[in-house]
Protein backbone atom coordinates (compact mmCIF):
# COMPACT_ATOMS: atom_id res chain seq x y z
CA UNK A 1 0.00 0.00 0.00
CA UNK A 2 1.40 3.37 -1.04
CA UNK A 3 -0.04 6.62 0.25
CA UNK A 4 -1.85 8.69 -2.43
CA UNK A 5 0.02 11.65 -3.97
CA UNK A 6 -0.12 14.91 -2.02
CA UNK A 7 -2.64 16.53 -4.43
CA UNK A 8 -4.96 13.49 -4.59
CA UNK A 9 -8.67 13.94 -3.68
CA UNK A 10 -8.03 11.06 -1.24
CA UNK A 11 -6.79 13.71 1.19
CA UNK A 12 -9.90 15.93 0.88
CA UNK A 13 -11.42 15.10 4.27
CA UNK A 14 -9.87 14.54 7.69
CA UNK A 15 -11.75 11.23 7.90
CA UNK A 16 -10.05 9.91 4.78
CA UNK A 17 -6.70 11.00 6.24
CA UNK A 18 -7.58 9.22 9.51
CA UNK A 19 -8.29 6.08 7.44
CA UNK A 20 -4.94 6.30 5.66
CA UNK A 21 -3.22 6.66 9.04
CA UNK A 22 -5.09 3.65 10.37
CA UNK A 23 -4.12 1.56 7.34
CA UNK A 24 -0.48 2.62 7.59
CA UNK A 25 0.05 0.35 10.61
CA UNK A 26 0.25 -2.52 8.11
CA UNK A 27 3.24 -0.81 6.47
CA UNK A 28 5.75 -1.16 9.28
CA UNK A 29 7.60 -3.99 10.98
CA UNK A 30 7.34 -1.93 14.19
CA UNK A 31 3.68 -2.95 14.47
CA UNK A 32 4.80 -6.57 14.93
CA UNK A 33 7.48 -5.50 17.44
CA UNK A 34 4.81 -3.57 19.38
CA UNK A 35 2.45 -6.55 19.27
CA UNK A 36 5.14 -8.84 20.66
CA UNK A 37 6.15 -6.32 23.35
CA UNK A 38 2.56 -5.81 24.50
CA UNK A 39 1.95 -9.55 24.46
CA UNK A 40 4.78 -9.68 27.00
CA UNK A 41 3.36 -6.78 29.01
CA UNK A 42 -0.01 -8.58 29.23
CA UNK A 43 1.72 -11.74 30.47
CA UNK A 44 3.88 -9.74 32.91
CA UNK A 45 0.78 -8.02 34.33
CA UNK A 46 -0.81 -11.42 34.87
CA UNK A 47 2.22 -12.95 36.57
CA UNK A 48 2.66 -9.94 38.89
CA UNK A 49 -1.05 -10.18 39.88
CA UNK A 50 -2.49 -7.11 38.18
CA UNK A 51 -5.97 -7.32 36.63
CA UNK A 52 -6.64 -7.37 32.89
CA UNK A 53 -8.49 -4.04 33.07
CA UNK A 54 -5.48 -2.58 34.89
CA UNK A 55 -3.20 -3.73 32.06
CA UNK A 56 -5.54 -2.33 29.39
CA UNK A 57 -5.89 0.99 31.25
CA UNK A 58 -2.12 1.27 31.51
CA UNK A 59 -1.83 0.82 27.72
CA UNK A 60 -4.63 3.33 26.99
CA UNK A 61 -3.60 6.06 29.44
CA UNK A 62 0.15 5.61 29.89
CA UNK A 63 0.91 4.50 26.30
CA UNK A 64 4.65 4.06 26.82
CA UNK A 65 5.90 0.47 26.94
CA UNK A 66 9.04 1.10 29.03
CA UNK A 67 7.06 3.10 31.62
CA UNK A 68 4.45 0.34 31.83
CA UNK A 69 7.13 -2.32 32.40
CA UNK A 70 8.93 -0.18 35.00
CA UNK A 71 5.61 0.38 36.79
CA UNK A 72 4.69 -3.30 36.77
CA UNK A 73 8.13 -4.59 37.80
CA UNK A 74 8.77 -2.00 40.52
CA UNK A 75 5.30 -2.33 42.07
CA UNK A 76 5.48 -6.11 41.62
CA UNK A 77 8.81 -6.31 43.44
CA UNK A 78 7.40 -4.45 46.45
CA UNK A 79 8.46 -0.83 45.83
CA UNK A 80 6.27 1.92 47.29
CA UNK A 81 4.05 4.12 45.10
CA UNK A 82 6.48 7.02 45.53
CA UNK A 83 9.48 4.93 44.46
CA UNK A 84 7.59 3.61 41.42
CA UNK A 85 6.39 7.12 40.52
CA UNK A 86 9.94 8.52 40.67
CA UNK A 87 11.34 5.73 38.48
CA UNK A 88 8.52 6.17 35.92
CA UNK A 89 8.83 9.98 35.94
CA UNK A 90 12.54 9.84 35.21
CA UNK A 91 12.12 7.24 32.47
CA UNK A 92 9.30 9.29 30.90
CA UNK A 93 11.53 12.34 30.39
CA UNK A 94 12.39 10.75 27.06
CA UNK A 95 8.88 11.62 25.86
CA UNK A 96 9.62 15.33 26.20
CA UNK A 97 12.17 15.61 23.36
CA UNK A 98 9.99 13.32 21.22
CA UNK A 99 6.94 15.57 21.57
CA UNK A 100 9.10 18.65 21.03
CA UNK A 101 10.45 17.28 17.75
CA UNK A 102 7.31 15.66 16.35
CA UNK A 103 4.63 18.31 16.85
CA UNK A 104 6.20 20.94 14.55
CA UNK A 105 5.74 18.39 11.72
CA UNK A 106 1.96 18.62 12.14
CA UNK A 107 1.53 22.26 13.02
CA UNK A 108 0.16 24.84 10.56
CA UNK A 109 0.08 28.61 11.28
CA UNK A 110 -3.60 28.30 12.29
CA UNK A 111 -3.27 25.18 14.48
CA UNK A 112 -4.44 25.72 18.06
CA UNK A 113 -2.50 23.93 20.78
CA UNK A 114 -5.55 22.03 21.99
CA UNK A 115 -5.83 20.35 18.58
CA UNK A 116 -2.42 18.82 19.29
CA UNK A 117 -3.22 17.37 22.75
CA UNK A 118 -4.33 13.98 21.46
CA UNK A 119 -1.37 13.75 19.07
CA UNK A 120 0.93 14.56 22.03
CA UNK A 121 -0.69 11.79 24.05
CA UNK A 122 -0.17 9.30 21.21
CA UNK A 123 3.51 10.23 20.93
CA UNK A 124 5.81 7.41 22.02
CA UNK A 125 8.85 5.92 20.36
CA UNK A 126 7.05 3.98 17.61
CA UNK A 127 4.80 6.86 16.56
CA UNK A 128 7.74 9.23 16.70
CA UNK A 129 9.79 7.05 14.33
CA UNK A 130 6.84 6.54 11.96
CA UNK A 131 5.89 10.23 11.88
CA UNK A 132 9.32 11.12 10.57
CA UNK A 133 8.88 8.44 7.88
CA UNK A 134 5.23 8.97 6.83
CA UNK A 135 4.42 12.65 7.39
CA UNK A 136 6.46 14.04 4.47
CA UNK A 137 4.04 12.08 2.24
CA UNK A 138 0.94 13.60 3.89
CA UNK A 139 -0.45 17.10 3.10
CA UNK A 140 0.30 19.35 6.08
CA UNK A 141 -3.33 20.27 6.84
CA UNK A 142 -4.24 16.54 7.09
CA UNK A 143 -1.29 15.43 9.23
CA UNK A 144 -3.04 15.67 12.63
CA UNK A 145 -5.90 13.46 11.37
CA UNK A 146 -3.39 11.03 9.86
CA UNK A 147 -1.46 10.78 13.13
CA UNK A 148 -4.70 10.23 15.07
CA UNK A 149 -5.48 7.31 12.74
CA UNK A 150 -1.99 5.86 12.97
CA UNK A 151 -1.93 6.21 16.77
CA UNK A 152 -5.40 4.72 17.26
CA UNK A 153 -4.42 1.77 15.07
CA UNK A 154 -1.27 1.11 17.09
CA UNK A 155 -3.10 1.44 20.43
CA UNK A 156 -5.76 -1.03 19.23
CA UNK A 157 -3.11 -3.56 18.20
CA UNK A 158 -1.53 -3.25 21.64
CA UNK A 159 -4.84 -3.65 23.50
CA UNK A 160 -5.47 -6.89 21.60
CA UNK A 161 -1.90 -8.05 22.32
CA UNK A 162 -2.29 -7.26 26.04
CA UNK A 163 -5.46 -9.33 26.23
CA UNK A 164 -3.97 -12.26 24.32
CA UNK A 165 -0.79 -12.20 26.44
CA UNK A 166 -2.76 -12.00 29.69
CA UNK A 167 -5.04 -14.90 28.79
CA UNK A 168 -2.15 -17.00 27.47
CA UNK A 169 -0.11 -16.46 30.64
CA UNK A 170 -3.11 -17.62 32.67
CA UNK A 171 -3.63 -20.78 30.64
CA UNK A 172 -0.31 -21.87 29.17
CA UNK A 173 2.21 -24.32 30.58
CA UNK A 174 5.00 -22.81 32.64
CA UNK A 175 7.53 -23.13 29.79
CA UNK A 176 5.39 -21.29 27.24
CA UNK A 177 4.46 -18.70 29.88
CA UNK A 178 8.17 -18.13 30.45
CA UNK A 179 8.67 -17.78 26.68
CA UNK A 180 6.08 -14.99 26.52
CA UNK A 181 7.65 -13.16 29.49
CA UNK A 182 11.04 -13.39 27.79
CA UNK A 183 9.64 -11.49 24.77
CA UNK A 184 9.69 -8.21 26.71
CA UNK A 185 13.41 -7.97 27.58
CA UNK A 186 14.38 -9.29 24.13
CA UNK A 187 12.20 -6.90 22.13
CA UNK A 188 13.20 -3.91 24.28
CA UNK A 189 16.89 -4.75 24.15
CA UNK A 190 16.95 -5.08 20.36
CA UNK A 191 14.64 -2.18 19.54
CA UNK A 192 16.65 0.11 21.85
CA UNK A 193 19.91 -1.13 20.34
CA UNK A 194 18.50 -0.45 16.88
CA UNK A 195 17.52 3.09 17.82
CA UNK A 196 20.95 3.81 19.32
CA UNK A 197 22.69 5.97 16.75
CA UNK A 198 25.12 7.94 18.88
CA UNK A 199 27.91 6.50 21.02
CA UNK A 200 26.24 7.94 24.16
CA UNK A 201 23.16 5.77 23.51
CA UNK A 202 25.20 2.57 23.12
CA UNK A 203 27.28 3.25 26.26
CA UNK A 204 24.11 4.02 28.22
CA UNK A 205 22.48 0.78 27.09
CA UNK A 206 25.47 -1.46 27.88
CA UNK A 207 26.40 0.23 31.18
CA UNK A 208 22.75 0.35 32.25
CA UNK A 209 22.52 -3.43 31.93
CA UNK A 210 25.89 -4.09 33.61
CA UNK A 211 25.38 -1.67 36.51
CA UNK A 212 21.85 -2.77 37.42
CA UNK A 213 22.87 -6.04 39.17
CA UNK A 214 25.49 -4.07 41.14
CA UNK A 215 22.95 -1.41 42.18
CA UNK A 216 20.44 -4.14 43.08
CA UNK A 217 22.83 -5.38 45.77
CA UNK A 218 22.21 -2.13 47.70
CA UNK A 219 18.52 -2.97 47.86
CA UNK A 220 17.52 0.68 48.14
CA UNK A 221 14.19 0.28 46.32
CA UNK A 222 15.50 2.81 43.81
CA UNK A 223 18.02 0.43 42.23
CA UNK A 224 16.91 1.14 38.67
CA UNK A 225 17.13 4.88 39.25
CA UNK A 226 20.60 4.64 40.82
CA UNK A 227 22.07 2.49 38.03
CA UNK A 228 20.21 4.51 35.37
CA UNK A 229 21.41 7.95 36.46
CA UNK A 230 24.95 6.69 37.02
CA UNK A 231 25.19 4.81 33.69
CA UNK A 232 23.46 7.64 31.79
CA UNK A 233 25.78 10.28 33.25
CA UNK A 234 28.89 8.23 32.41
CA UNK A 235 27.53 7.79 28.87
CA UNK A 236 27.02 11.54 28.63
CA UNK A 237 30.60 12.01 29.91
CA UNK A 238 31.89 9.78 27.09
CA UNK A 239 29.87 11.81 24.56
CA UNK A 240 31.22 15.09 25.99
CA UNK A 241 34.81 13.81 26.06
CA UNK A 242 34.64 12.68 22.43
CA UNK A 243 33.29 16.08 21.40
CA UNK A 244 36.00 17.96 23.26
CA UNK A 245 38.73 15.80 21.70
CA UNK A 246 37.61 16.38 18.11
Amino acid sequence: MALPPLDSPQWNSPWLAFGWGLRSITQTILTIVLFVTYLGIGALAHDTHFSLIWALCSTLFVWAGPAQIILITTLGSGATIVQAAIAVTVSAIRLFPMVVSVLPLMRTPTTKWRELIFAAHLTAVTLWVECHRFLPQVPRERRIAFVHGLGCGLVSVCLVANTVGYVLAANLTQTLGAAILLLTPLSFLFSTARNSRESADVVALVLGIVLYPVAAKMNSGLDILVSGVLAGTIAYGVHWWRQVRT
Binding site: D47, T48, S51, L52, I53, W54, C57, F61, P66, A67, I69, A84, A85, S91, A92, I93, L95, F96, P97, V99, V100, L103, P104, W113, L116, I117, A120, T175, G177, A178, L181, L182, L183, P185, L186, S187, F188, F190, T192, A193, R194, D201, V203, A204, L205, G208, I209, V210, L211, Y212, P213, A215, I224, S227, G228, V229, A231, G232, A235, Y236
Partner: protein, 116 residues
Amino acid sequence: MSFAQAVGDWHALVVLFVAGVVPNQIWRMLGLWFGGGIDEGSELLVWVRAVATAILAGVIAQIVVQPPGALASVPDALRYGAVAAGLVVFLLTRRSIFAGVVAGEVFMLAGKWWLG
Protein backbone atom coordinates in the same frame (compact mmCIF):
# COMPACT_ATOMS: atom_id res chain seq x y z
CA MET B 1 -12.76 -14.66 34.44
CA SER B 2 -15.56 -12.77 36.20
CA PHE B 3 -16.07 -9.03 35.83
CA ALA B 4 -14.76 -8.40 39.36
CA GLN B 5 -11.62 -10.41 38.61
CA ALA B 6 -11.08 -8.53 35.35
CA VAL B 7 -11.28 -5.15 37.09
CA GLY B 8 -9.32 -6.14 40.19
CA ASP B 9 -9.22 -3.73 43.09
CA TRP B 10 -9.78 0.01 42.62
CA HIS B 11 -6.76 0.80 44.74
CA ALA B 12 -4.48 -0.63 42.04
CA LEU B 13 -6.13 1.60 39.42
CA VAL B 14 -5.52 4.68 41.59
CA VAL B 15 -1.85 3.64 41.90
CA LEU B 16 -1.73 3.29 38.10
CA PHE B 17 -2.99 6.84 37.72
CA VAL B 18 -0.65 8.38 40.31
CA ALA B 19 2.53 6.44 39.50
CA GLY B 20 1.94 5.71 35.81
CA VAL B 21 -0.36 8.11 33.99
CA VAL B 22 0.59 11.43 35.64
CA PRO B 23 4.40 10.96 35.39
CA ASN B 24 4.11 10.31 31.65
CA GLN B 25 1.53 12.92 30.69
CA ILE B 26 3.45 15.65 32.53
CA TRP B 27 6.36 15.33 30.08
CA ARG B 28 4.12 15.13 27.03
CA MET B 29 2.19 18.25 28.06
CA LEU B 30 5.42 20.10 28.90
CA GLY B 31 6.65 19.19 25.43
CA LEU B 32 3.42 20.58 23.99
CA TRP B 33 3.56 23.83 26.00
CA PHE B 34 7.23 24.75 26.00
CA GLY B 35 8.46 22.67 23.08
CA GLY B 36 8.98 25.49 20.63
CA GLY B 37 11.91 27.06 22.41
CA ILE B 38 14.08 23.99 22.99
CA ASP B 39 16.91 22.92 20.74
CA GLU B 40 16.61 19.21 19.97
CA GLY B 41 20.37 18.74 19.89
CA SER B 42 21.04 20.56 23.19
CA GLU B 43 23.49 19.02 25.67
CA LEU B 44 20.78 18.72 28.33
CA LEU B 45 18.65 16.56 26.05
CA VAL B 46 21.64 14.34 25.19
CA TRP B 47 22.06 13.65 28.93
CA VAL B 48 18.31 13.13 29.38
CA ARG B 49 18.23 10.61 26.55
CA ALA B 50 21.28 8.77 27.94
CA VAL B 51 19.72 8.47 31.42
CA ALA B 52 16.37 7.37 29.99
CA THR B 53 18.12 4.71 27.88
CA ALA B 54 20.12 3.48 30.91
CA ILE B 55 16.96 3.22 33.00
CA LEU B 56 15.34 1.13 30.30
CA ALA B 57 18.50 -1.02 30.19
CA GLY B 58 18.17 -1.50 33.95
CA VAL B 59 14.60 -2.71 33.50
CA ILE B 60 15.72 -5.21 30.86
CA ALA B 61 18.41 -6.46 33.27
CA GLN B 62 15.93 -6.65 36.15
CA ILE B 63 13.54 -8.89 34.25
CA VAL B 64 16.37 -11.25 33.28
CA VAL B 65 18.26 -11.22 36.62
CA GLN B 66 15.24 -11.22 38.97
CA PRO B 67 12.60 -12.84 36.74
CA PRO B 68 8.90 -12.52 37.53
CA GLY B 69 6.36 -15.37 37.52
CA ALA B 70 6.85 -18.24 35.09
CA LEU B 71 10.20 -16.90 33.87
CA ALA B 72 11.67 -17.78 37.30
CA SER B 73 11.26 -21.47 36.35
CA VAL B 74 14.00 -21.06 33.73
CA PRO B 75 17.53 -21.63 35.14
CA ASP B 76 19.79 -18.53 35.35
CA ALA B 77 22.31 -19.77 32.77
CA LEU B 78 19.55 -20.50 30.26
CA ARG B 79 18.03 -17.00 30.59
CA TYR B 80 21.41 -15.30 30.16
CA GLY B 81 22.27 -17.68 27.32
CA ALA B 82 19.00 -16.88 25.53
CA VAL B 83 19.68 -13.11 25.68
CA ALA B 84 23.28 -13.66 24.52
CA ALA B 85 22.18 -15.91 21.63
CA GLY B 86 19.54 -13.37 20.59
CA LEU B 87 22.12 -10.58 20.71
CA VAL B 88 24.60 -12.49 18.51
CA VAL B 89 21.90 -13.20 15.88
CA PHE B 90 20.67 -9.57 16.11
CA LEU B 91 24.19 -8.32 15.32
CA LEU B 92 24.82 -10.95 12.60
CA THR B 93 21.56 -10.07 10.80
CA ARG B 94 22.45 -6.38 10.62
CA ARG B 95 20.21 -5.47 13.54
CA SER B 96 17.06 -7.44 12.79
CA ILE B 97 14.85 -7.18 15.90
CA PHE B 98 12.69 -10.03 14.67
CA ALA B 99 15.61 -12.45 14.11
CA GLY B 100 17.09 -11.58 17.52
CA VAL B 101 13.84 -12.19 19.38
CA VAL B 102 13.18 -15.49 17.58
CA ALA B 103 16.76 -16.72 18.23
CA GLY B 104 16.52 -15.88 21.95
CA GLU B 105 13.18 -17.65 22.28
CA VAL B 106 14.34 -20.73 20.36
CA PHE B 107 17.47 -20.95 22.54
CA MET B 108 15.43 -20.80 25.72
CA LEU B 109 12.80 -23.31 24.57
CA ALA B 110 15.44 -25.71 23.20
CA GLY B 111 17.36 -25.47 26.46
CA LYS B 112 14.24 -26.18 28.51
CA TRP B 113 13.46 -29.17 26.31
CA TRP B 114 17.06 -30.42 26.56
CA LEU B 115 17.05 -30.16 30.35
CA GLY B 116 13.69 -31.96 30.41
